[in-house]
């Protein structure tokens, strides 16, 4: 640490530092560094007197930089900011730095949430989150925070560019499940956006979107889960997708002769010549279609091919599906 100890700073001479209490032999004691011991001794001293002043902001920042998980330092810092009426945009600027530094620490995000509830300015937050997601594209805290911002402020402005944002995330990585999840949240879980009132149209749009993404990367579990999600949500039978899914469930050798270029079906793009086929998720999907048509024989045939050939690690799951289907018929 390049900072002097608080014990050596004249402006802290009036504070009585308080050692950590260890009444009985502690379990898993931490061998603190002198700088950490010093700062937390002064922090316990401050908490005892209840002082909420500008120097408390210095002290808590010092502790947080040594231990971003220090729950009480965050809490006391927030109380101090409120008591002082401190400018929160300055605090948020500091948080921009700390959040990126400690992306995986829960407290950084919780603190931010408390601050934004005071400033009520979600705009810069969406921009900040977009930047943070460039650094760690699947960070759970960052995505949850974005979902919270949108749901909490919930006006036309915050939502206006969200679909566009998700698309750019998926363009960067079509296998980013956090982005797929976010898309489902934006489109189906958070009310109806302006222009999205015709829900059948929205479902059609989403099906077209996800099918195109499956054509790009057929073995992408996130896209298949999204497809199932849209169908389940809109109560659309899986069999409506049979024309699209069937070719993905077959090996290249079983694909019908290539369709001439001029009759490409844009709704039902075929797998590319380089695609890894057959696709496990497509076989599973076809089996679900047969099961829903009460054709357990055909479904069983597909499950067997998964159990014994294409997805052998899950053979016990596919055998279980076969057993369940037989039980249902009886």
């Amino acid at each position: 640490m390049d900072h002097p100890l608080f014990a050596d700073r004249p402006e802290w001479v009036d504070v009585v530092p308080l050692q950590q209490y260890e009444g009985v032999t502690p379990l898993a004691p931490i061998f603190y560094t002198p700088a950490y011991k010093d700062a937390t001794n002064y922090f316990r001293g401050i908490v005892k007197t209840g002082e909420k002043s500008a120097r408390v902001l210095d002290l808590t920042e010092n502790i947080i930089r040594q231990n971003p998980a220090h729950y009480s330092a965050w809490q006391y810092r927030y109380k101090t900011l409120m008591a002082l009426g401190a400018p929160l945009d300055v605090e948020l600027q500091l948080m921009d730095e700390l959040a990126v530094k400690y992306l995986k620490t829960y407290q950084v995000w919780h603190h931010r949430r408390l601050l934004v509830q005071q400033t009520e300015r979600p705009g810069p937050e969406l921009e900040f989150i977009a930047n943070a997601l460039q650094i760690d594209t699947k960070n759970y805290h960052t995505w949850s925070y974005r979902q919270w911002i949108l749901a909490h402020f919930n006006d036309d402005t915050v939502w206006s560019r969200e679909l566009q944002f998700v698309e750019s995330m998926l363009d960067n990585d079509v296998r980013n499940n956090s982005a797929w999840h976010h898309r489902f949240f934006v489109v189906f879980q958070s009310g109806v956006r302006k222009g999205d009132e015709a829900r059948d149209e929205v479902v059609r749009r989403e099906l077209t979107f996800v099918k195109a993404k499956i054509a790009i990367a057929p073995n992408n579990a996130s896209a298949w889960n999204y497809l199932r999600g849209v169908l389940d949500h809109s109560k659309t039978p899986y069999s409506n997708l049979e024309v699209f899914v069937a070719p993905y469930s077959l090996p290249h050798s079983a694909q019908e002769d290539a369709t001439p270029e001029d009759v490409i079906d844009l709704e039902n793009l075929l797998p590319s010549p380089g695609a890894q086929l057959p696709c496990v998720a497509a076989i599973e999907f076809m089996a679900d279609i047969y099961e829903s048509r009460e054709d357990p024989m055909k479904a069983t045939e597909l499950w067997k091919s998964l159990a014994h050939e294409y997805d052998t690690m899950r053979n016990k799951y596919w055998e279980y599906r076969i057993k369940e289907a037989i039980l249902n018929v009886r």
């Binding site: 950590q20 009985v24 898993a28 749901a151 899950r314």
Partner: protein, 354 residues
């Protein structure tokens, strides 16, 4: 196929004993969850059979019990346990009391790990302030049914819900929680993939999915899941076992040893524990073993008690066929709902209620 390497139980126990003795200054982030770390250490000793009251020095057991009890704190919003002494000053205050608005209150998740730690230590729970714990849980439940980790705020997600339910179940007293309200909150965390997110609108992940399912089953409310939901959840869980043999927490992420427990135990709770490929799971965990003891989240990472305990818990639930060569993968059986050795869980259920 390569044979399954041995599970080096003795070395894992040593890693945990070493952590109980002390941690380097670089691990200062453990301070706000110290008691939870102690639980992972004691739990690892418990599951590997390396800890029994008979074989451990009486003085150790007594000191460990004393330290856990020293974290029980009482105040205006009820009684619970603190994570440790990191905010307790050594003069001028009674260490086991907190006042209104305190910066050093009890914590719900820590309270759950404290009760289980004391059960591992076969404590009689004579000092437990049962009515205080009930009051504390009541103070932590929010209007939307979720629980804050502390009575004066803090994070509210499915981890806290699970711990509040597990505490109620161990106490055999549910008057501290509004169960229906909490179950409604759990439902809002369910996602289209079939798993649960940590909070409403968040992505499905293995940890919160375990918390949701274990809570529902601890409260004996399995009828809250439709048959279709149950099947969808089983599907999502088995899809999370990846070719390395380990479980990932979210779709398209890498395997992590802790999700071998969160996903494996979720399947057990749903009566589908047999669907895990146990041999590949054991091979993955074997590859996460550190040569000087302890298990890490993935191969070639640093071990820690959290991943060590959860890996052992996963193996206890889903041992490899014949428990490996020479049965050295055999561990104590595990109660998947409380996440503890079955004998410890029985002890807790016998001694914690009045």
């Amino acid at each position: 196929m390569d044979p399954l390497p041995p599970l080096t139980k003795g070395a894992h126990a040593t890693h945990c004993r070493r952590c109980l003795m002390g941690l380097p200054g670089s691990q200062v982030d453990i301070d706000p969850s110290k008691l939870a770390l102690a639980f992972y250490c004691l739990g690892s000793l418990d599951l590997t059979g390396q800890f029994s009251i008979e074989s451990t020095k009486t003085s150790d057991v007594e000191l460990w019990r004393q330290w856990v009890w020293a974290q029980q704190t009482q105040g205006p919003r009820g009684t619970g346990f603190r994570p440790g002494n990191y905010m307790t000053a050594d003069r001028g205050e009674l260490p086991n009391l907190y006042s209104e608005g305190s910066d050093n209150p009890p914590h719900v998740i820590v309270t759950y790990t404290a009760l289980l730690s004391l059960a591992i230590l076969r404590d009689e729970f004579a000092q437990l302030d049962r009515p205080g714990i009930i009051k504390f849980l009541q103070a932590c439940q929010n209007e939307d049914g979720s629980f804050s980790s502390e009575p004066y705020g803090g994070d509210a997600d499915l981890r806290t819900t699970y711990c509040a339910f597990a505490i109620s179940s161990m106490l055999d007293d549910w008057s501290g929680v509004r169960v229906e309200n909490a179950l409604n909150f759990i439902e809002t965390c369910r996602t289209y993939e079939g798993g649960y997110g940590q909070a409403p609108f968040a992505e499905a992940s293995g940890g919160p999915t375990y918390c949701a399912l274990a809570s529902i089953f601890l409260a004996s409310k399995s009828d809250r899941l439709t048959d279709g939901e149950r099947k969808q959840t089983i599907r999502w869980l088995v899809q999370n076992q990846v070719p390395s043999g380990g479980y990932r927490g979210r779709t398209n992420k890498d395997a992590d040893a802790c999700y071998c427990f969160w996903c494996g135990a979720s399947l057990s709770i749903l009566g589908a524990g047999q669907l895990t490929c146990e041999l590949s799971l054991s091979k993955f965990i074997a590859s996460c073993q550190f040569k000087f003891g302890g298990i890490s989240k993935a191969p070639n990472e640093h071990p820690d008690p959290y991943h060590t305990y959860l890996s052992l818990a996963a193996v206890a639930l889903c041992p490899p066929p014949n428990a490996g060569v020479g049965h050295n993968w055999k561990l104590q059986s595990l109660d998947p709902l409380l996440n503890a050795n079955e004998a410890t869980s029985r002890w807790a259920r016998k001694h914690i209620p009045i």
